[in-house]
């Protein structure tokens, strides 16, 4: 590789920005514009993979940009957790771009240049979050991500979209300013630093009440993790075009949230401290409640995207629980779940978009018998559902396994029950969709659906570009089951395992 690692690290942030320039420059010609987007995403992926290999070979990369205030600097470094996030995001940016080209064109969306520009900006923010070396840098890019995704959410420009955009921005900005910033400022005030450090930055003799309060502020402040009661923005943001929902609300935004939570738990508090804080238990139960309630709400949604949105809220709860359990398995499970859920959920969203484009259907009740018309999409949907539920032969199995192990290690029986129960609920709200699509006659009382199904038998799938994207994403769910090692290795590398004392 011709560049030094430091340069490459900065390139991960610079490339999306350069792509924006190119996109704006080529706004008159859609082919070139989208060519630029794809090229940029391929280059980005290539660079991230290069960085990944250097990480495997044990090199450390640090980049320091500038110091804004004393001890508050913008700087970057590479560590395994961030690597997982960056890998997923850059890989899925590529896939989503491919998908978006098919979707946006066949949907004849307006303002596509704006769409691709802000999309690239969002990826830039995600890279910044993933590689940030301290909480301040992370916060800066966290806010950039919020602002850059707002135009994507309101893309349609309708009143409903604006309403959704308001809720989206309102909740994310208010939680981040009112709680997150306060928590960061307090942390800075107490410890004098915001650097991520293995084992946390708080000294051992910190007042447990204050640290506990800070933890609450952090968990509520990171609104992107969508812990109830600050979850409303996620369903609201579903007014966005499907590629946006897919990348941003299955991958970038929500994962930035839980990623931040993991970072804070592991590198700011440290697992040892986390385990003995008075508020951890309360937050665990809150996350548990969030998991269950969101699953229950999801069952009642007829709009496919809304159902997926609530499913996301529930799955995010898993990750938060894993982080708060303060055990090594929990953290491993959480970080793996970031990846596996990303693949599963993005496939599901892609499918939802494909159904909307090809069959113009967005409600689940209308999808009966759709499997004959869109067999490929529905197969992918099925695989992805398994991945979310956590059944073999999909990647979700591993992450859920480790999460369960985590609850066992921490002896949190209630939470174990919550996780199992929620997985059952997942089955109940996800699997019927592909089943009814393929076997419309399975419940005999609705004959009308069966007739519909038999009259529409010719295959009419989504555009090819979208299909390719769906295929890759679904395949990834399967491959990560057979070959989870790289992911597992990264996840275990997050914690210096010997240092972790289990449980209390």
């Amino acid at each position: 590789m011709i560049f030094s690692l430091e340069v490459m690290l900065q390139l991960t942030i610079a490339i999306p920005l350069l792509a924006i320039l190119g996109i704006i420059f080529a706004r008159k010609n859609p082919n070139i514009r989208e060519g630029i987007t794809i090229t940029a995403s391929i280059v980005l992926l290539y660079i991230v993979i290069n960085l990944y290999q250097s990480l495997l070979s044990g090199k450390t990369v640090n980049v320091f940009w500038w110091e804004i205030m004393p001890n508050l600097s913008i700087s970057f470094s590479i560590e395994p957790l961030g690597m997982i996030f960056a890998l997923i995001a850059s890989f899925l940016w590529l896939i989503t771009t491919i998908y978006a080209i098919g979707y946006m064109r066949s949907h004849q969306e307006e303002n596509q240049t704006r769409f691709y520009s802000f999309f690239a900006l969002a990826i830039c923010a995600v890279m910044g979050i993933a590689f940030s070396d301290n909480l301040f840098t992370l916060f800066v890019f966290y806010e950039v991500l919020t602002l850059s995704t707002y135009p994507l959410v309101t893309h349609a420009g309708t009143d409903k979209a604006k309403q959704g955009g308001r809720v989206y921005l309102g909740i994310l900005l208010s939680t981040s300013i009112a709680f997150f910033l306060l928590a960061i400022a307090s942390t800075w005030f107490i410890t004098g630093t915001l650097d991520f450090k293995q084992g946390g930055i708080f000294s051992a003799n910190i007042d447990k009440t204050i640290a506990g309060a800070l933890l609450v502020l952090f968990i509520f402040g990171i609104g992107k993790a969508a812990i109830m009661p600050f979850h409303r923005w996620l369903p609201a943001a579903m007014v966005a075009p499907t590629p946006v929902s897919a990348l941003l609300h299955a991958v970038a935004v929500v994962k930035a949230g839980v990623f931040t939570i993991l970072k804070v738990c592991v590198f700011i508090f440290g697992l040892d401290l986390l385990a003995i804080l008075p508020t951890t238990q309360f937050l665990l139960y809150l996350a548990g409640a969030s998991v269950l309630l969101a699953s229950l709400v999801a069952m009642r949604q007829d709009n496919l995207k809304a159902r997926l949105a609530y499913s996301t809220i529930s799955q995010l709860g898993y990750i938060t629980i894993g982080a708060l359990l303060a055990t090594s398995s929990g953290v491993i499970g959480s970080s793996m779940h970031i990846a596996t859920h990303a693949f599963g959920k993005i496939t599901l969203f892609f499918c939802a978009g494909a159904i909307l484009v090809a069959a113009h259907k967005s409600n689940i009740s209308e999808m009966r018998g759709l499997g004959r018309q869109m067999p490929f999409t529905m197969m992918a949907f099925f695989i992805a559902s398994l991945c979310i539920i956590g059944l073999p032969p999909t990647a979700g199995t591993w992450s859920k396994w480790f999460l369960l192990m985590g609850t066992l290690e921490a002896e949190q029986w209630t939470l174990m029950m919550v996780l199992i129960l929620s997985s059952l609920l997942n089955i109940a709200y996800l699997l019927p969709i592909p089943f009814l699509a393929f076997f419309p006659n399975i419940s005999a009382k609705n004959n009308q659906g069966a007739e519909n199904a038999t009259t529409n038998i010719q295959i009419k799938e989504a555009p090819l570009a979208s299909l390719i994207a769906i295929g890759i994403a679904a395949l990834a769910c399967l491959i990560l089951f057979i070959y989870p090692n790289p992911l597992y290795e990264l996840a275990t590398a997050i914690l210096d395992t010997e240092r972790v004392t289990y449980g209390k």
């Binding site: 500038w66 804004i68 205030m69 508050l72 916060f139 800066v140 806010e143 602002l147 135009p151 309101t154 420009g157 604006k162 955009g165 308001r166 921005l169 309102g170 900005l173 208010s174 300013i177 009112a178 910033l181 306060l182 400022a185 307090s186 800075w188 005030f189």
Partner: protein, 492 residues
């Protein structure tokens, strides 16, 4: 020459004002005023440099020795303020000629520049002087020209706003005069430095208490501290755009300077904050101001009104910073003086550009403007983000310092309230962003072009400053910090 800088700072615009009359042609007058203001800016830079390296500059006006003659006393605080005022004034003047061509009748253009320079003189005088009575004189110079400038607005409501401001402003100034008189009665001196040494001996008398209250109320009227803010929104909204920019960025800052000078230097920290319940009062009023004014801003239809109310809210933040009475809090206050001047001037100047093109400033006329005036609206958006306190803008820096100051003080609740207050800013800023970018233009409205270059250059200079000082805080923080430390150093 160098040793005369403190007085030149005031003399240059003062002398330039009548000279404008001789030039007659508006274009020439404009260039001349710009030159005078740039000169003042240059002087202020030199002064700041001098103060930062060699400490307080004391200048005896006319060679009369200090406690008897008038002393100009430039310490870090003054120098910082002088820099802010002259910098903003110069940048704003660049756009002045273009803007007033649309808003002020041609025969009054020369008059406008004269008044502008006089007002500038007044503000610079208030800040430079170390004499309490001199403060009053300069205060009236700047105020009288301010009333006239506001009355130049071509809406008849400008007259009414100006009249109201005149009444309130005169009451405020007279209050200050009474306070100064009472102080003189007790100490026999008008020199601030002298006052600060003599006042503690008589601090426990009722006269000094009364003097303090008169001065504080008078100054608070001037700086539009809630609930004494009623004159401000209309004065800002109906004044010519350039006047609004200039006053929004500087006038309240000067009043805040006076407040700091009187509470910290003249009366002294221990008197202001321990003998009298100023802390609780400022804290309550500051917070109330933030919430009341921000909420009021949300419901305005006139965009200038929105940001005028926002200015009142920002004064609230500044006052909360003062109320902590710690070095950190005061640093936050001084930083916010600087930062708020940057963001408000950028925003109001961009609004001026909108008025230039549209002739109106109602929110409904902003619909679809994001496409028609992309650079101007981007400036409003960035300025608004700065106002909210988004990282990488100046707004974040001062908010961060304020937050740290409050945490240091242990005022958690206040810290949360401050943050909640900035959420209100999100709402009113977002109303404008939404109108500009996500609404279709009103039916029948004319398409407009981007603002002229003479607007865009100063606007973007300010916007870049907004971002630059949000990234590189060394200069602003260093000056603010040492100014704050200086204030705590001199007070007993």
């Amino acid at each position: 020459m160098i040793s005369h800088l403190p007085v030149l700072q005031v003399i240059v615009p003062l002398m330039a004002a009548p000279l404008c009359l001789l030039l007659r042609r508006a274009q020439l007058v404009w260039l001349f005023a710009l030159l005078a203001s740039s000169l003042a800016f240059l002087i202020s830079i030199l002064l700041l440099q001098q103060v930062m390296t060699s400490g307080v500059i004391s200048y005896e006006l006319g060679g009369w020795e200090a406690p008897w003659g008038i002393e100009y006393r430039i310490d870090k605080l003054n120098a910082f303020l002088l820099l802010i005022i002259t910098a903003i004034s110069t940048v704003v003047l660049i756009a002045a000629q273009t803007s007033i061509e649309k808003e002020i009748p041609k025969e009054k253009h020369t008059l406008f520049y004269i008044l502008y320079l006089l007002s500038l003189t007044g503000m610079l005088g208030i800040v430079s002087t170390g004499d309490a009575f001199n403060v009053f004189v300069f205060l009236e110079i700047s105020s009288l020209s301010a009333y006239a400038l506001i009355a130049l607005g071509n809406d008849r409501r400008a007259l009414w706003a100006s009249y109201q401001y005149l009444i309130m402003g005169t009451i405020g100034a007279t209050f200050i005069l009474i306070g100064i008189g009472l102080m003189y009665q007790m100490t026999g001196t008008l020199n601030m430095e002298d006052l600060s040494q003599r006042l503690p001996q008589v601090a426990q008398t009722r006269t000094v208490f009364t003097a303090f209250v008169f001065v504080i109320v008078g100054v608070c009227l001037k700086l539009a501290l809630f609930p004494l803010h009623l004159w401000l929104p209309n004065a800002y909204a109906y004044a010519p755009s350039i006047v609004t920019v200039f006053f929004a960025a500087t006038a309240t800052k000067v009043a805040i300077y006076l407040l700091i000078r009187f509470t910290f230097t003249v009366f002294g920290l221990s008197f202001s904050f321990t003998t009298l319940p100023l802390q609780g009062l400022f804290l309550t009023l500051g917070l109330a101001g933030i919430f009341v004014a921000s909420s009021a801003a949300i419901y305005q239809k006139n965009v200038k009104h929105i940001f005028a109310y926002s200015s009142i809210a920002q004064v609230g933040y500044i006052i909360v910073g003062i109320s902590t009475s710690t070095v950190m809090g005061l640093t936050a206050t001084l930083l916010h003086l600087f930062n708020h001047a940057l963001m408000k001037s950028a925003i109001f100047l961009a609004l001026g550009a909108v008025v230039y093109r549209l002739g109106t400033i109602q929110l409904s006329s902003f619909h679809g403007l994001g496409r028609q005036m992309p650079l101007t609206m981007a400036a409003v958006t960035i300025g608004g983000l700065s106002l909210i306190g988004v990282p990488l803008t100046v707004g974040f820096v001062s908010k961060w310092y304020l937050l740290i100051a409050l945490i240091e003080k242990g005022w958690w609740l206040v810290a949360i309230l401050i943050l909640l207050g900035s959420l209100l800013a999100v709402v009113y800023v977002w109303r404008i962003v939404e109108a500009a970018y996500f609404k279709e233009p009103l039916a029948g409205s004319m398409p407009v072009k981007e603002a002229p270059m003479l607007f865009l250059i100063p606007i973007w200079t300010l916007i870049i400053a907004n971002i630059y000082f949000g990234l590189d805080t060394r200069l602003s923080v260093q000056v603010a910090q040492s100014a704050a430390q200086g204030l705590f150093g001199v007070s007993p």
